[in-house]
């Protein structure tokens, strides 16, 4: 087990002290509010900045969804409570609804255009401003340097620039709600020529916002990869890195290489919208029955190829960090080594590689040709293998462990079946023949929400509850954490499970009236008619979604209340974890480690025979553990 420690020059003369730090680069003694929280170059502060902003954006995206669910369940009915507020923000896009006599305005409803822009912005905000910043940027920034024993990220100032670009991109996205014509309406995929022909400048805002967000994640990805390659502590060899670090490493490579083609596509679409070029506009394009005044000759398929070249790897950007968090939480709470560490690592690498050659399975309906469809169908089936290996390893890790049940572990356990449902229901979508029927129905909405909402977001909750004690020195409340978990689990499933049925019955995903007109236009009793139960489900989903929103209130209160009032932890390592992030002072000071860690063993040495404690930290010298290092349970 003892491996030779590589000889490295020491990178820190004096051990870092808490609070005060007079480091070389920018030696201010008492940092004021701005240099401490806004222009900080400390990876932990930047991680928390990212986390806070991402949670705010996620809440905002959730509210957009609630408004849309109201419109789906009660199309054209005045919006309760938020109607006049919405009208004052977006104006005529939320038109007034008159009473039966047609005289008094009794409220404000959501117009189809507004519904479309909510749909586009819900997707954009949740993916690019919510989940990716939280999973990759927030947790990655806070945890990765700690886990590999680094004093900070490789390029701290680029790290700060990355956050500022993200913030600016978010502002540009939000501002687009206030311009005449409203925000982008062409879906989060922004398919051309629709995205160019809709008469709103919201699309240009969307594109500029995306370019900023892509810049942000590019800077972040460069930083992460360089940090993981260059700043590993002595002895932290590749196969001693925790799986979370591996997951972030692969994610960073995906972001680095998959985002630029979307940036290219964004530049081209921006040219289409602003300079009136025809990159994505075909010859003979007609808008509203009129021949459009464009040169033509462009290719709408080109946009889809460039978009999905990012879009599919993006799915793994969403899921890999979540898998990393779940792996850490499971290993820690089963008190035994993670099952199949090497399989996990190689699977993650394989997923990262394959994710670049599956993109066209989003495009079976475009008529790109059967041969291409067959190729992408094959790669799609192959990529499910490493994903299943990862999930299987996590399930097998539970086998024979003495499992501690706490809030992070509950969320991690919840992740496993929920992600399993999301993943397995994706298989029919990867097969071209089945996809022709299911494409653009609520089935696909249910599928990817199972992957991301009860999947990734549960893992992110697990991460928040898990690392909160390291960030603040206090725990979040256990009881309210469990309330949060069980309510979220139940209502998530009530929201998304019926959508599978709706989709199989043929309800399409982009109808702003929830399918009422579509159902009415069909011959009753015909085989493709939408039955009344499908419409009824819209009502249940609305109430479950509202309940799901209420279930997040305990979390929000718990999060902020616990910063100052939570139960104090009595050691730096309250969960009894082995990885380096728990071997720092709590909260970690600027520079992170009191002494430079020397890693001498793998990441998951739990319950090793011959050790007094049931965990052996990666940098603990080979001697019997001193009394008092038992985890505080």
């Amino acid at each position: 087990m003892q491996a030779s420690v590589q000889q490295f020059p020491p990178f820190r003369e004096a051990p870092a002290t808490r609070g005060h730090d007079n480091h070389g680069g920018h030696g201010q003694h008492e940092p004021n509010f701005f240099s401490k929280y806004i222009f900080s170059t400390d990876h932990k502060v930047i991680g928390i900045q990212y986390g806070f902003m991402a949670l705010c954006f996620m809440l905002f995206g959730f509210f957009l969804m609630l408004l849309m669910r109201w419109q789906i369940a009660h199309p054209g009915m005045p919006l309760p409570a938020f109607g006049s507020l919405l009208h004052s923000v977006v104006g005529d896009m939320a038109p007034g609804v008159k009473d039966a006599a047609g005289k008094i305005i009794i409220g404000y409803a959501i117009s189809p255009e507004l519904y479309n822009s909510f749909g586009a912005m819900h997707g954009t905000i949740m993916v690019f401003l919510g989940v990716v910043p939280l999973a990759f940027a927030a947790f990655g920034n806070y945890v990765v340097p700690l886990m590999i024993g680094a004093p900070d990220m490789c390029f701290p100032r680029i790290n700060m620039a990355s956050f500022h670009a993200f913030f600016l991109g978010g502002v540009v996205m939000l501002v687009s709600f206030f311009i005449p014509g409203g925000a982008a309406q062409a879906g989060w995929t922004s398919y051309s020529p629709l995205a160019t022909t809709i008469p709103t400048h919201g699309q240009a805002f969307w594109l500029v916002g995306m370019v900023l967000l892509i810049t942000s994640s590019l800077l972040g990805a460069v930083n992460f990869i360089a940090t993981i390659i260059q700043l590993r502590a002595p002895g932290m060899t590749w196969m001693r890195m925790p799986f979370f670090v591996w997951a972030q490493f692969v994610t960073a490579f995906i972001l680095l290489l998959a985002f630029p083609p979307l940036e290219a596509a964004g530049i081209l679409q921006l040219m289409d919208n602003v300079a009136h070029t025809s990159f994505f506009l075909p010859t003979g394009l007609a808008v509203g029955g009129q021949l459009a005044d464009v040169s033509g000759g462009g290719s709408p398929l080109l946009w889809q190829h460039l978009f999905w070249f990012l879009g599919h790897p993006e799915v793994y950007v969403l899921i890999l960090p979540a898998m990393g968090i779940v792996a850490e939480v499971i290993a820690n709470n089963t008190r035994k080594p993670l099952w199949g560490y090497k399989s996990l690592v190689y699977s993650a690498l394989f997923v990262g590689f394959l994710s670049f050659i599956v993109w066209a399975h989003h495009m079976y309906m475009t008529g790109m040709g059967q041969k291409i469809a067959t190729f992408f169908q094959a790669t799609t089936m192959i990529i499910s293998i490493p994903s299943v290996i990862i999930l299987t390893c996590m399930f097998l890790s539970l086998w024979g462990g003495s499992i501690r049940i706490n809030t992070p572990m509950l969320f991690a356990l919840g992740f496993l079946p929920m992600f399993g449902i999301g993943g397995l229901t994706g298989l029919p979508l990867g097969l071209a023949a089945a996809d022709l029927y299911l494409h653009d129905t609520y089935y696909i909405i249910a599928h990817f929400h199972y992957v991301v909402a009860p999947g990734t977001i549960f893992a992110l909750f697990a991460g928040v509850y898990f690392w909160f004690p390291k960030m603040t020195g206090r725990r979040m409340d256990e009881f309210w954490g469990r309330v949060h978990f069980w309510c979220s689990l139940v209502f998530m499933n009530i929201v998304f499970m019926p959508m599978f049925a709706q989709g199989i019955k043929g309800m399409l995903r982009r109808m702003s009236d929830g399918g009422v007109n579509y159902a009415a236009a069909r011959v009753p009793g015909a085989i493709d008619a939408l039955p009344g139960t499908v419409m009824q489900m819209n009502g249940w989903i609305l109430w479950a979604a509202i309940a799901l929103g209420i279930a997040q209130i305990p979390f929000i209160i718990n999060l902020f209340w616990s910063i100052n009032h939570g139960e104090k932890v009595h050691s730096d390592n309250p969960w009894g974890a082995t990885t380096l992030d728990w071997q720092t002072p709590t909260p970690p000071p600027h520079g992170n480690f009191a002494h430079e860690p020397h890693v001498i063993r793998g990441p998951y040495e739990y319950s090793q025979p011959g050790h007094a404690a049931d965990f052996t930290p990666q940098d603990e010298p080979e001697r019997p553990a001193a009394p008092g290092t038992q985890p505080a349970r």
Partner: protein
């Protein structure tokens, strides 16, 4: 707190941080330009037969620009080598050349852009096409009110396709002369800007993005040449690394042009 390996190489990876960072950044740049080049390929393959332009760009100016950038790659390398042997004067000398060459490149590029923006294709009411550089507009020229005249230096063709291949013997033989056209005879008039067709669109986008990279690289090199060169006195090793990293970026930008030149000018 000090970040390790900002100056010296890490023993097991054999590289310092910034150099790894710039290589990663360049990898993403390859994907960015790769996406745009693949857009070029798809647009060209998908163009209607006979409608993809040939010979629209000035090969002489393009060759000159290629030589300028190739030369600047050499001066960049020599500037870095001068830093390595701690010869500050030579560093200043060579990078002054780099900046000068880059600015000349941008100047020639702007001239080429201007040439395209004053080049008009005029669809006449009799179905013919007048094509040439704008020389004069009469004061009352207005396309909407149909008043006044416009003078171009060019020629008139029967079919738009004749304007597509300027390398053909027919196009080479065409006589260019001053033509004055009344607004009443004009059906549609537009310059060779990005919206003219997909070729000018991708030409302006690719070379414009490349020119922005040249501009950015020039600004960085100028900073290291001017105010940033103070670091040569305090921390020459770190300064040399900076020159190397900016040089790597500069070589990449040169390399993109090496692809752009044949793709846009020579085919």
């Amino acid at each position: 707190m000090e970040i390790p390996y900002t100056i010296e190489n890490r023993p097991d990876t054999g590289i310092y941080n910034a150099k790894l960072g710039i290589w990663l950044f360049l990898a993403s740049e390859v994907m960015l330009f790769g996406g745009l080049f693949s857009a070029y390929v798809l647009l060209r393959v998908g163009a209607e037969p006979g409608m993809w332009p040939h010979g629209w760009l000035n090969v002489t100016l393009g060759t000159l620009n290629t030589l300028l950038l190739a030369l600047s790659a050499i001066t960049t390398l020599l500037a870095w080598a001068a830093c390595k042997v701690r010869d500050f004067g030579k560093f200043k000398f060579f990078h002054a050349f780099t900046i000068l060459l880059a600015l000349t490149f941008l100047g020639i590029k702007s001239y080429e852009y201007r040439d395209k923006l004053i080049h008009y294709e005029i669809q006449l009411t009799n179905g013919k096409f007048a094509d040439g550089h704008l020389r004069e507009e009469s004061k009352d020229f207005d396309l909407v009110k149909k008043t006044g005249t416009v003078t171009i230096e060019g020629h008139i063709v029967e079919d738009r396709k004749e304007l597509m291949d300027l390398r053909s013997p027919e196009a080479q033989a065409a006589k260019h002369e001053e033509i004055t056209i009344a607004a009443t005879d004009i059906k549609k008039m537009g310059n060779y800007g990005p919206r003219h067709n997909t070729f000018t669109a991708i030409y302006f986008t690719l070379t414009g993005l490349h020119a922005l990279h040249i501009l950015g690289g020039t600004l960085v090199i100028f900073y290291f040449w001017g105010p940033g060169s103070r670091m040569f006195k305090t921390d020459p090793e770190r300064f040399t690394n900076r020159v190397e990293v900016s040089g790597l970026f500069w070589h990449f930008v040169d390399l993109v042009w090496i692809f752009l030149f044949p793709v846009l000018y020579l085919t």
